[in-house]
Structures are given as structure tokens and as C-alpha cells.
């Protein structure tokens, strides 16, 4: 930054209003000169002499003009620009300091921006529809024994609060919709995974089945073509049309307008594409990701049949979500009351309710963010991450404040004060400098945040099912970053600026020349360093807890061999593989997969372990009566005959399943040790019989006992469980496959596809992954927390290192004299070195004690996020403290050595 730039700016300034001021001043001067000339002439001078005399008396007009111009520009520009220029010069003069400050700020601000943008989009982003704030989601709530039994959708239930659910039966929806007064149109929808074949490639898609008034209710118009309309849902099975998402349009159709009218196969049914959704539209249930396609709900019996009856006529199965816009002038409470009574009427009108059962009441919830059922799962992690990054930012601020103090700005300020600078002006100058630093850090941080905005969603999603998810980077995020940047600039700039401006003119000039004793003034800087050490301790202890949680989780033995196990799913649609056909299909696929070279063993299973899925089924040993007050169901898995051998799950007693177990033979089951202990204490369960509540099963005989294993999640102890062979079933639907093989999933995939294509070219292989990847994905939260907090911890240590080094180097430099005298009076260099190290140890001690105390208070809040350790885990806390101590001593080693190396004579002569 040099004066040409300033001149350029003042020239720009001239363009605005300076011209006028200049010509006015010219007029003023001319008038003055004329008046003077006239005066001299009236005293008898000749016109020439009078003119010359007037000019002499007035002085040099050009210099005056110049002065005025500069004075005017400086008034408007110069102070700010001078400050900025000076600030830049100061920063450029100490590039090391500037680099450390900008990089640490950029990292801290970038981290804050990233976490904020993710938290914002997960917790606050609205649906991309006009007037989203009018939207309401309908829920029902019931206590005791609810009349609703069969459900498909989000469901909350606890003994105290009763159950809460956002799904309704289609007949109930029709009645509510027909009698609706308090809301604008009520529309219904439900998401389901389907198999789509587009251009001959079969893959799985997320589809949303919607009522005909869905698009008009949301007030969304397609980008291309037409929406799903009420005319599409005239009767069950009508409306073989789909509207596709912009994402699919781009991926599979290259944004070609000729997409309209093309036919795709959805669960084996041909469907015509009639429209493309606008960019950013994500459907009604979620503001993050969009379903891939939308189809009329009346297609459910054709495309996604469940049970034997069409769900559209089924009053006992509740599965559609309902949303609508509230009418202007109607309060939520009024609408709730009206809808509740209508819901009761609809339930009575469509279902048979037993006297002991309760009828649900209606609840209205904000629908502007869709059905944010999982929101609470994100709240705490988002809050914890925001806090962690906040600490990092605070740490970066403390670091810069400390470095600014230590840079000895104070002495320079005293000189400036002595030369007549105003205190306010100095305060402004220093603040400008910190804001400059903050701005540089903020710009780089914003860039980092922008680049990193999708990192966290990617870390949180399954690697084999990466739905493209974009965190919106909008003005709110920008505003947040800008605010944070300015706040940090003020935060780390204010203290040094205040101290500098408060300095007495003489004091620091005198002091720096004459002080020989220990300085008492450095307390501000030292307090900041102690604070830094405390924050670092907190972050390091936090990182330690999350890391140990992750390791504890990883070292859990799931009970079966997880290595070299490849998983995938095959979901034959009921429309193609009717009852019995699906069992035959799985039977054949199991054999064909086993024949692939490199595959050692194959089994199928309805549940993949450590996959967060579970099913349970009634388990009533023969002779035990039904007891409503007791939980009589147990976890359950339906498996292939090779299951135990493939997974390496040992059979403790009895036999595994074999080829003799068929549809027509005696139904058999294997129970695990926990179930044996729980339901058959002191009895040998083998040969015992039980019923599952399913009449088709009849009495099932227990033929073996297997070892325990972790079921849905590594965190929970191995539960009681029983297993039955799928081959004895008349209908199974989709199954997961588990292959023991030394091949990688990518090497295996082509062979797998070839096998499946031979059977049915429209059948996709879904989610090919290894068991280890599956387990890793169940630890995503832990891994994200461990890696982020470890990163923050390392950053914190680095900053603390810089801070402690800075302050100790500063202290030593200031005490050169004193140290010189000590050495001259006979102190050993080792003693001097120890003296410096002792001082930093004190600082470290104070910081670490504070940090540990804070950590003990705060980590309690993350207790629910830890596994296998307590928040006050002694090794972690002690380890964190030890790391800090080592880091502090290492960082002060160099200044200590320098102190010990002071030459007494030189130090004394120096001043």
C-alpha cells in the first residue's frame, strides 16, 4: 500500500463533491485578492503594484489550494486509510505474526462457519416452497392402549408420554380431507424405496407417493412438464406417471428436455415421466435431500403392494403422512380441536375400536421444515460441535491478543502519545489493525468453510449410499461469519488497544530503559496465556474422551467374524415375485452366489447385525399364557441355512438349520444363550416348543442354541434373540445377503450383477458394502466427534505452544538486564533456565487446573455421547493435563535456553 493508491482514492474522492468545494474556494480567494487590491489602490498604489502587494500579503495561492484539497480529502478518507495503511505496514513488517494470526483465525472461523452452516441446514432450513411457515404437519397422540396397531412411519413411544406418530390410514385421510374446514387443502404422502430401471440400468430410488393435491398444496410448479394432479388419482391403480427430481434429470437424462414422455420401470411397472421438479425442491418431509421421484398415491397397490389388501382400502394400517397450510385467522389450537374431533369420528367410522383402547387425539406441529422427526438427534451434537469450535475461536483470539501484547506495541504507543497523538486515535489505529487481521482470517475462513461445507454431511452418510446433499451457503451463513469475524477482531484487539491507549506517556519509555527487577506489568499477557492453556486442556480432554469412546466401541467384540464379509440386499417386488416365488428366488440366488469363484460361503438374513435394524416377534413357550402386562416378544432374525457357518456364530448345543427344514416339515428355531437363560432358566430348551403369534407357523421347535452377538448396535449388550430359517416361510420379501469372501466388494460386484441379471434384469443389487463398513457407519457420530475434536485439540495445542513461547520469549527479552545482573552476581545458567521454566510451569499449572475443572463441569453434558468411559475418566484427564504440561515446557525451553545463554556484560551494556 503506497501513496499512489491513496492518491488514486483521493482522486476518486474529487469526483464526488470535491470539485464544487474547490471552485468555491477559488472564488473565495479571488474575492479576497480583489478586495485587497482595491484597498491598496485606494491607498494610492498603481494597479500593478496593488496587485503584487495583495498577492504578497495573501501568500502562495497554489500551496493554499493544495493544502485545502489534502485537508479535505484527509478529513473524509485519510484517517481510515491512514490507519489501514499503517496497519498493513505493521502487519507486513512482522510476517510471522501475521501468518500465525491469519492462519489460526482462518482455521477457527472456517470451522465455525462449517459447523454453523451444517447446524443451520439441519435444524433451521425451511422447505423450498412459498410461505413455508403456513405449513403444519399432523400428528396423533394416544396414551394407554391405542386403537392403532399397524404403522409404517415415524413413531415415538414411551410409557409415560404415550405414543406419537405422524402416520394415518388412507381412509382416515380421505375423511379428514373431505370434512376439513380449519386448514387449506390437506395433502398426503409417504416415502418408500423402490427399484427403478432407467435406460436399462436397475437401481434403487427413494420415491414419494403423493396425493393429487400435493403440488397445489405446497404451491410448487415443476421446472418442466406438469405436476401430479388430482386427475391422476381417480381410482386405485390409476396414474402411471412420475415427476422426477432435478438430480435424476441431471444424472440420468443429462438435462434433456425430451425426458418428458419417456418411460421408466418402477418395481416392474412402466411409468411415464410427466415432469421435472425445480432445483432445490426437496419434497414435503425433509429440507435436506429430495426423493428421486414422485408418483400418485393411487399407484401404491400396483407399484408397492404390501399385505394382500391395497393399503388404500385398509383402515387398520396407518401409513400416510398428512400436511396442509393453516387457514389465515385460524389458530393452531382451534384447528387442533376441530381436527381432533374429526379424527375421532373418522376412527370410529373406519375401524372397530375395542372398549379398552384409546382413540388418538390430533396434534399440529410446525411443518415449515417438513417432518423433522429426527431433529432432536442432531440438536445435541450440533450444540456440542458449536461449543467446541467456539472454544477454538476463543483460543485463537486469546493467542492473537497475547501476541499483540507481547509485540511490544506499548512502547511504540508511548512514543506516539508523547509526540501528541490522541488516545482515541491510537485506540482506533490498534483496532483497525486487529480488524484487518480478523478480516483476512475471516475471508480465508469463509473460503475454508465453503470448501468444507459438505464434509460433515459426507462423514455422516453411508459411503455406499451417498445421497448428494448440499449444505446451502447463504446470506445467513455469510452474516454469521462476518459477525464472528468482527466480534473476534474486537475481542482480541480491544484488550491490547485499551492497555496501549491507557499507557502513561512516560511510564513505558522509562520502564523499558531502567527496569531491572521482575516486571509486574506482564500480568495481562500471562493471564491470557493461562486462559489459553485452560481452553487447550478443555479441548484436549474432550478430544481424549471422544477418542477413547471410539476406541472402546471399536474394540467391542460383536460375537461373530466381521472380516471378509460382503453385504448387500435384494428386494424382489411383490408385483413380480408373489408369495412363494420370492422364497424360490432367494434359494436360487444363494446357490448361484455360492458358485462365484472366490466366494467361500453365502447366507441370507432379514437383519444385518450392527446395522441399526431390528425386528421382533412374539415368543411364547408352550404352556405360557398371554400376559398384556408383560413384554413377551423377542428380537428375531430370519436366516439362510448357512447363516451360522458364514458368520462364524458358534452353535453351542443342538444343530444348525439344514436342507431337511422345508416348508412342509416341522418349523424349527435356534435361540441364543441369553434367550435360553431368560426364558428357559434351569431347563434344557432344546426340543421345547413355542409359538410366534403367527398362526401359519404353528408351534416351533427349538433345535439348537447359538452364542450371543451384538444385534442392532455395538453399544448395547448382546440381547436375547431367536432365529428361524427363511426357507420354511411362504413369503419373505427382501433379504440381505452375506458372503464370506476374500474379494473386495468392487471385485465382486460384476459377478454378482451377472448372477442377478440372469434371473431378472430389473432386479437391482442394493448397498454393496462390507460388514466392517456397516459397523463403521454405526460409529459415524463417534468417528466424526473423535476426528473433529482431535483436530481441534491439535490446533489448540499448536496455539497454546505459540502463546507460551511468545510470552516467555517476551518475558526473557524484558528481563535481559535482570538476568544479566543475576549472572554477574554468580547465578549459574542452569539456575536461570530453571527460573524461567518454573515461571512457565506456574502458568501451565494455573491453566491446567482451571481447564480440568471446566472440563469436569462440561464433559458431564456429553455423557450420553460417550461409550465405555465416564466423563470424569481419570486416565483421559490426567493424560490431557500431562500433554499440556509437556507442550508448555517444550515451548518455553527455547526462551529458557536463551535466558541461560545471556552474556552478563552484553546485557548490561545493552541499555
Amino acid at each position: 500500500m503506497s501513496s499512489p493508491i491513496l492518491r488514486a482514492i483521493s482522486r476518486v474522492g474529487v469526483l464526488f463533491g470535491q470539485k464544487k468545494a474547490e471552485s468555491e474556494f477559488d472564488t473565495e480567494m479571488q474575492t479576497h485578492l480583489q478586495l485587497l487590491t482595491e484597498r491598496f489602490m485606494s491607498q494610492g498604489m498603481s494597479p500593478e503594484d496593488a496587485d503584487a502587494a495583495a498577492r504578497r500579503q495573501f501568500g502562495n495561492t497554489t500551496v493554499l489550494q493544495q493544502n485545502h484539497r489534502e485537508s479535505r480529502t484527509y478529513q473524509s478518507f485519510s484517517r481510515g486509510i491512514q490507519d489501514v495503511r499503517y496497519g498493513l505496514r505493521v502487519l507486513a513488517k512482522s510476517p510471522g505474526f501475521t501468518a500465525i494470526a491469519v492462519v489460526s483465525l482462518a482455521l477457527a472461523i472456517g470451522a465455525n462457519t462449517t459447523i454453523f452452516s451444517v447446524a443451520k441446514s439441519m435444524l433451521y432450513d425451511r422447505l423450498a416452497v412459498p410461505d413455508a411457515q403456513q405449513l403444519r404437519t399432523l400428528y396423533w397422540h394416544a396414551t394407554g392402549h391405542s386403537a392403532v396397531h399397524g404403522m409404517w412411519g415415524s413413531f415415538d413411544s414411551s410409557p409415560e408420554a404415550g405414543s406419537r406418530c405422524s402416520c394415518f390410514s388412507y381412509p382416515v385421510y380421505q375423511q379428514l380431507s373431505a370434512h376439513n374446514q380449519s386448514m387449506q387443502d390437506l395433502f398426503a404422502f409417504q416415502q418408500d424405496d423402490m427399484n427403478a430401471t432407467i435406460h436399462g440400468n436397475a437401481h434403487r430410488v427413494h420415491a414419494e407417493m403423493i396425493s393429487g393435491n400435493y403440488y397445489s398444496g405446497l404451491n410448487v410448479r415443476p421446472l418442466l412438464g406438469r405436476p401430479i394432479l388430482p386427475s391422476d388419482e381417480t381410482m386405485n391403480g390409476s396414474g402411471a406417471v412420475v415427476v422426477i427430481s432435478e438430480g435424476i434429470w441431471e444424472r440420468d437424462f443429462g438435462r434433456s428436455p425430451s425426458v418428458l414422455g419417456q418411460i421408466i420401470t418402477l418395481n416392474q411397472s412402466p411409468m411415464t415421466i410427466v415432469g421435472v421438479n425445480p432445483r432445490g425442491f426437496t419434497g414435503a418431509s425433509d429440507s435436506q435431500t429430495s426423493p428421486d421421484l414422485f408418483l400418485p398415491i393411487t399407484m401404491q397397490p400396483v407399484v408397492a403392494p404390501r399385505h394382500d389388501q391395497s393399503l388404500l382400502d385398509n383402515s387398520n394400517f396407518w401409513w400416510v403422512q398428512i400436511m396442509g397450510r393453516i387457514k389465515p385467522g385460524v389458530t393452531d389450537a382451534q384447528a387442533e380441536a376441530v381436527l381432533s374431533s374429526q379424527l375421532q369420528a373418522a376412527v370410529h367410522g373406519t375401524m372397530q375400536v375395542k372398549p379398552t383402547e384409546t382413540i388418538p387425539t390430533m396434534l399440529l406441529a410446525d411443518g415449515s421444515r417438513g417432518d423433522h422427526f429426527t431433529e432432536n438427534d442432531f440438536k445435541k451434537p450440533a450444540f456440542v460441535l458449536m461449543t467446541l469450535t467456539g472454544f477454538v475461536l476463543l483460543l485463537a483470539c486469546a493467542n492473537i491478543a497475547n501476541l499483540m501484547l507481547a509485540r511490544g506495541a506499548q512502547r511504540e504507543m508511548s512514543v506516539r502519545l508523547a509526540l501528541g497523538a490522541g488516545r482515541l486515535r491510537i485506540l482506533r489505529q490498534l483496532l483497525t489493525e486487529s480488524l484487518l487481521l480478523a478480516a483476512m482470517g475471516g475471508v480465508v475462513g469463509l473460503l475454508l468453510g465453503y470448501l468444507g461445507r459438505n464434509v460433515i454431511p459426507r462423514l455422516l452418510s453411508d459411503p455406499w449410499d451417498a445421497t448428494p446433499q448440499n449444505v446451502h451457503f447463504d446470506w445467513l451463513v455469510f452474516g454469521f461469519t462476518a459477525t464472528v469475524t468482527i466480534a473476534t477482531g474486537l475481542l482480541f484487539g480491544l484488550a491490547p488497544a485499551w492497555m496501549a491507549a491507557r499507557a502513561e506517556v512516560g511510564s513505558s519509555l522509562k520502564e523499558s530503559a531502567l527496569t531491572v527487577t521482575r516486571r509486574r506489568k506482564g500480568m495481562g499477557g500471562k493471564a491470557i496465556v493461562a486462559f489459553q492453556i485452560a481452553l487447550s486442556t478443555l479441548l484436549v480432554v474432550g478430544a481424549g474422551l471422544f477418542l477413547r469412546s471410539l476406541f472402546a466401541l471399536r474394540s467391542v467384540d460383536p460375537g461373530f467374524r466381521t472380516d471378509h464379509l460382503v453385504l448387500f440386499s435384494i428386494n424382489p417386488p411383490a408385483s413380480r415375485f408373489a408369495k412363494g416365488k420370492d422364497v424360490q428366488l432367494h434359494d436360487r440366488l444363494e446357490q448361484d452366489f455360492a458358485a462365484i469363484p472366490g466366494v467361500q460361503a453365502v447366507t441370507s438374513a432379514s437383519i444385518v447385525y450392527i446395522g441399526n435394524g431390528m425386528t421382533n416377534s412374539t415368543f411364547l413357550p408352550a404352556g405360557e399364557a398371554v400376559d398384556r402386562n408383560k413384554r413377551q416378544s423377542e428380537l428375531f432374525n430370519r436366516v439362510g441355512n448357512n447363516f451360522f457357518a458364514t458368520l462364524g456364530l458358534p452353535i453351542i448345543a443342538g444343530r444348525p438349520f439344514n436342507a431337511q427344514d422345508t416348508v412342509t416339515s416341522q418349523k424349527v428355531a435356534i435361540i441364543n444363550q441369553s434367550l435360553a437363560r431368560k426364558r428357559f432358566p434351569n431347563v434344557n430348551p432344546i426340543g421345547k416348543e413355542f409359538s410366534t403369534g403367527d398362526k401359519a407357523d404353528g408351534l416351533v421347535r427349538i433345535v439348537g442354541i447359538c452364542a450371543d452377538n451384538r444385534y442392532a448396535d455395538l453399544r448395547d449388550d448382546a440381547p436375547a434373540q431367536f432365529l428361524m430359517p427363511y426357507r420354511q416361510q411362504t413369503e419373505v420379501g427382501g433379504l440381505n445377503y452375506e458372503l464370506r469372501t476374500s474379494l473386495q466388494p468392487s471385485e465382486l460386484a460384476p459377478a454378482l450383477r451377472a448372477v442377478v441379471r440372469k434371473v431378472d434384469p430389473d432386479l437391482p443389487i442394493v448397498d454393496i458394502r462390507t460388514q466392517q463398513e456397516q459397523i463403521d457407519s454405526s460409529m459415524q457420530n463417534e468417528r466424526v466427534f473423535a476426528s473433529l475434536s482431535a483436530g481441534f485439540g491439535v490446533l489448540a495445542l499448536a496455539l497454546a505452544c505459540v502463546g507460551i513461547y511468545g510470552i516467555m520469549a517476551y518475558t526473557v527479552a524484558n528481563r535481559r538486564n535482570e538476568i544479566g545482573i543475576r549472572l554477574a552476581l554468580g547465578a549459574q545458567p542452569g539456575q536461570v533456565q530453571r527460573m524461567v521454566l518454573r515461571e512457565s510451569t506456574w502458568l501451565a499449572g494455573a491453566g491446567i487446573v482451571t481447564g480440568v475443572a471446566a472440563a469436569l463441569l462440561l464433559t458431564r453434558l456429553v455423557k450420553s455421547m460417550l461409550y465405555g468411559i465416564q466423563p470424569y475418566d481419570l486416565p483421559t484427564v490426567a493424560g490431557g493435563a500431562a500433554i499440556l504440561l509437556v507442550v508448555v515446557l517444550t515451548a518455553s525451553w527455547i526462551p529458557a535456553r536463551r535466558a541461560a545463554g545471556v552474556q552478563p556484560m552484553e546485557a548490561l551494556r545493552h541499555e
Binding site: E28, T31, H32, G59, S71
Partner: protein
């Protein structure tokens, strides 16, 4: 230069202009220069251009205000007047000046006495 004449002390011109405007009301630059010339009884030499530098400075401080008007002989001229803040400043500066000049006067008399 005439040995009887003194240069205007740095900073005192502002004070003189403020006082002039306070005493005489709105004046243009030429008028201010004449008034100072008259009051100083030709003791002070003044580059009259510097009056304008001083006026600009005072204006930027908000102590005076200016307005375009017509002078006695029908010329367009800018008239300066003192503001409220300017009057306050004048009081402060006047007190300061009196205190300092008093001290300097006492000091000078004192030293003179010792020598005699």
C-alpha cells in the same frame, strides 16, 4: 522583515478567529483578516491565506459554520459564524491561554527580578 512585527504563534490564529467571530458575528475571510490587522495594530504579520486554512480547520472541528452571502460591495462571499460548540471551545481555549500566558508572564518577571 520589520523587526517590530511578530509571526503569529502556531495555534493562536484559530483562537483569534474564533474570538473575532464571537465578538463581531458572521464575517467573510477578508473581514476577519482586516479585523485581526486592526486589533493587532500592525504588530502581527499575517499571510492572509492562512486565515482560510484556519477557517477550514475550525469548520472541520465543527466550531464554525459557513454560508454564502453578498458582501458590502455586492460581491459573492462566504460568511463564517461561530457555533455553540465553537463558543464552548472558545471559553476553554481562552482560559487555557490566560493560565499559560499568566504563568509565562510570572516566570519572565521572576527571572527578571533575580537578575536585577
Amino acid at each position: 522583515m520589520n523587526p517590530d512585527k511578530s509571526e503569529v504563534l502556531q495555534g493562536t490564529l484559530d483562537l483569534m478567529i474564533l474570538k473575532t467571530l464571537h465578538a463581531l458575528g458572521p464575517l467573510h475571510g477578508f473581514g476577519i483578516a482586516r479585523r485581526i490587522e486592526q486589533v493587532s495594530e500592525d504588530v502581527l504579520t499575517l499571510n492572509e491565506g492562512t486565515v482560510y486554512t484556519s477557517l477550514l480547520r475550525l469548520k472541520q472541528q465543527g466550531w464554525i459554520d459557513s454560508k454564502w452571502g453578498t458582501s458590502e460591495n455586492n460581491r459573492k462571499a462566504r460568511f463564517y459564524s461561530i457555533t455553540k460548540r465553537g463558543q464552548k471551545q472558545l471559553t476553554v481555549e481562552t482560559e487555557n491561554w490566560e493560565r499559560i500566558s499568566g504563568v509565562i508572564g510570572r516566570v519572565l518577571r521572576l527571572e527578571g527580578g533575580k537578575q536585577q
